[in-house]
């Protein structure tokens, strides 16, 4: 054994843990090597010094440990909601939620479309839930209860609940109305009012799940209640201001922030006409789907007067305090929907009203609006695409009236 090998064994020699043969070899080496004996002596002193270290007086940890455990227990309870929110907003969870939503929407959409092939043809002359007579097959049972609900309650209802409304099993009518009678093109998103701008894309899935608009007669009927439910349920999440269009002047666009959430309690006073009808229940009926659409911007000093005028054009309608104008019970009545763009007085500088009218009343509407202020045609009906919207009022009116099918006019009322 040489010195290098001996030095490797010396630290273990201190404990006496060397195997006897190795211990004998080391002992033989140490007997003849003074340097290695000195090394062994130094290691023994080192180990003795370390082993001789006096223990350090420890503080009493019980109180500190107990305090931490108690604090953690309290913090755990207090932190629980806060911890759950970031987890919900984490990208993975958001992706999962979005995927789940798509699956659900797709599932119901497929159910609706697939079920329609086997379902009987719907009755086009259904009566409302509040009306006597046989219940129309086109009205889902699940919607019956909603028909008696105040619309305010619907507005407050969370979006997922609304998107779950058209359950295939409970709503055979839903599958009927969206069946193959639509002529292949089961529904047209351009007519549904959900694709007007990017701002509405976020809610287009839930809406399209419940709002289908037939595009071909004679089966071109929609369930008014379905449409209304879809639109109303989408209101809290959807900016109700006018759809974004690249060419639209910025000052004419309603404030998105103010329209992001509907808060009935903070709305400016609804028109008198609306208040008087606010308590009415909304009957169900089939109404023709709008074939055309126009968008107008009215810059008026008294937006409320404009709203009242628009509401007055219809023979019977309901104006909800939330800002929605429901259809009348008359089968031929216009369907009017209004959504307040503002949640408070200050933000209520613009209001969006959607009016579904027969084309024959378009000119009447236009004339009435012009009495209140400057009317700008932002989007003409398809047949008027090439017309000069600003100046060709007469040709526009005539073309629309010739179309015959009901049309939807989106009116943005901007306070001057």
């Amino acid at each position: 054994m040489n010195c290098r090998q001996a030095k490797e064994l010396i630290p273990g020699c201190v404990d006496g843990t060397l195997e006897p043969p190795r211990a004998r070899e080391l002992s033989d080496h140490l007997a003849g090597c003074e340097q290695c004996r000195g090394e062994l002596e130094d290691v023994r002193k080192t180990v003795a010094l370390v082993r001789g270290l006096a223990p350090v007086t420890a503080p009493d940890l019980v109180a500190g440990v107990r305090a931490r455990l108690n604090a953690e227990a309290r913090g755990e309870r207090a932190r629980r909601p806060a911890l759950s929110w970031p987890s919900l907003t984490s990208p993975q969870v958001r992706i999962a939620l979005a995927a789940g939503l798509l699956i659900v929407v797709g599932f119901y959409g497929m159910k609706e479309m697939g079920g329609g092939r086997n379902a009987p043809k719907p009755s086009l002359q259904g009566t409302g839930a509040g009306e006597p007579g046989p219940q129309p097959s086109v009205i889902p049972e699940a919607e019956h209860g909603k028909a008696d609900m105040p619309h305010a309650a619907k507005l407050k209802a969370p979006l997922p609940a609304a998107s779950q409304a058209p359950k295939p099993a409970a709503e055979p009518a839903g599958t009927i109305s969206f069946g193959e009678e639509a002529g292949g093109k089961l529904w047209d998103r351009s007519e549904s009012g959900t694709d007007d701008g990017q701002s509405r894309q976020a809610v287009s899935q839930p809406m399209t799940a419940t709002r289908y608009t037939r595009t071909e007669a004679p089966a071109d009927v929609i369930l008014e209640e379905e449409t209304k439910t879809a639109e109303l349920s989408a209101v809290p999440a959807m900016p109700v201001g006018e759809p974004e269009e690249p060419g639209k002047p910025e000052e004419l666009r309603p404030k998105r922030e103010s329209s992001a959430r509907v808060q009935p309690a903070e709305h400016p006073p609804a028109p008198v006409l609306g208040k008087s009808y606010a308590s009415r229940s909304v009957p169900k009926k089939a109404v023709p789907a709008p074939a055309q659409r126009a968008e107008l911007v009215v810059v008026a000093g008294d937006p409320q007067a404009v709203l009242e005028t628009v509401a007055g054009l219809s023979s019977a309608m309901e104006y909800k305090e939330e800002g929605s104008v429901a259809a009348s019970s008359a089968p031929t009545a216009d369907k009017v929907e209004a959504r307040k763009a503002g949640a408070d007085e200050k933000a209520a500088s613009s209001t969006v009203v959607s009016v579904r009218i027969p084309p024959s009343r378009y000119s009447e509407l236009l004339a009435a609006l012009k009495k209140h202020g400057e009317v700008t045609v932002m989007k003409a009906a398809p047949v008027l695409a090439d017309a000069d919207a600003q100046s060709a009022d007469k040709s526009e009116t005539a073309a629309v009236e010739q179309a015959g099918a009901p049309m939807e006019v989106l009116i943005t009322v901007v306070r001057k």
Partner: protein, 208 residues
């Protein structure tokens, strides 16, 4: 932090309180908080000393020891008695010390320079800076004990752990291996190399 010889925490042999510890562990596992407090009292000296030898700082050692017992409280339900409770607790302490040492190395104003291989060309170790230390402790560090402690603190982490457990606290190789999560041979190897490195440090300091 005064180094005394009459502390509750035995830095020598372990195993004496194990019989009592087993009963306390069972009660603590059943939800008896007083029993867990008893375990804290029983082992706080050992755990604190281990941490102190590892980080060379009383305040940090107290934090580490407290963290060890908090972790022990959370995990005591998983202790199945396959090893001694002290070994299980030392394993927790070892891991906590390792993570704390990593944190301390990142912390500004606190440097622990490990002794590397302990060769003669090794630069002198820098002291661990602890502004919270009391003047009395600083004076004590000038004494032999303090210098030995500082030499220990400059050993490589795993060497230090082996030396503290086996030499300073008198643990058996088997218990140290269980606490360090390695084999007995690894413990011996680390310990023997730690002794050699420590001897070189003490020689350079003129302590031996």
């Amino acid at each position: 932090m005064a180094e005394t010889s009459n502390t509750a925490g035995p830095e020598q042999a372990l195993g004496e309180p194990e019989l009592d510890a087993e009963a306390l562990v069972r009660r603590a596992q059943a939800g008896d908080e007083a029993a867990f407090d008893g375990l804290v009292r029983m082992f706080q000296g050992q755990i604190f000393n281990l941490a102190y030898r590892m980080v060379n700082n009383a305040a940090d050692a107290g934090d580490i020891a407290q963290e060890v017992f908090v972790r022990a409280y959370r995990a005591i339900g998983k202790f199945r008695g396959e090893s001694k409770f002290s070994t299980w607790l030392y394993a927790l302490a070892s891991n906590t010390c390792r993570s704390e040492l990593r944190r301390l190395r990142r912390r500004a104003g606190f440097e622990i320079v490990e002794g590397g291989k302990g060769g003669p060309d090794e630069p002198p170790p820098r002291e661990a800076v602890d502004p919270a230390d009391s003047p009395a402790l600083k004076m004590e560090r000038t004494e032999v004990m303090g210098q030995i402690q500082e030499c220990i603190a400059t050993l490589p982490e795993e060497f230090r752990l082996a030396m503290v457990m086996c030499d300073a606290q008198g643990m058996s190789y088997e218990d140290a291996a269980g606490a360090m999560g390695c084999s007995i041979g690894t413990v011996k190897s680390r310990l023997f190399r730690a002794r050699t490195a420590m001897k070189d440090k003490l020689v350079r300091k003129g302590l031996i």
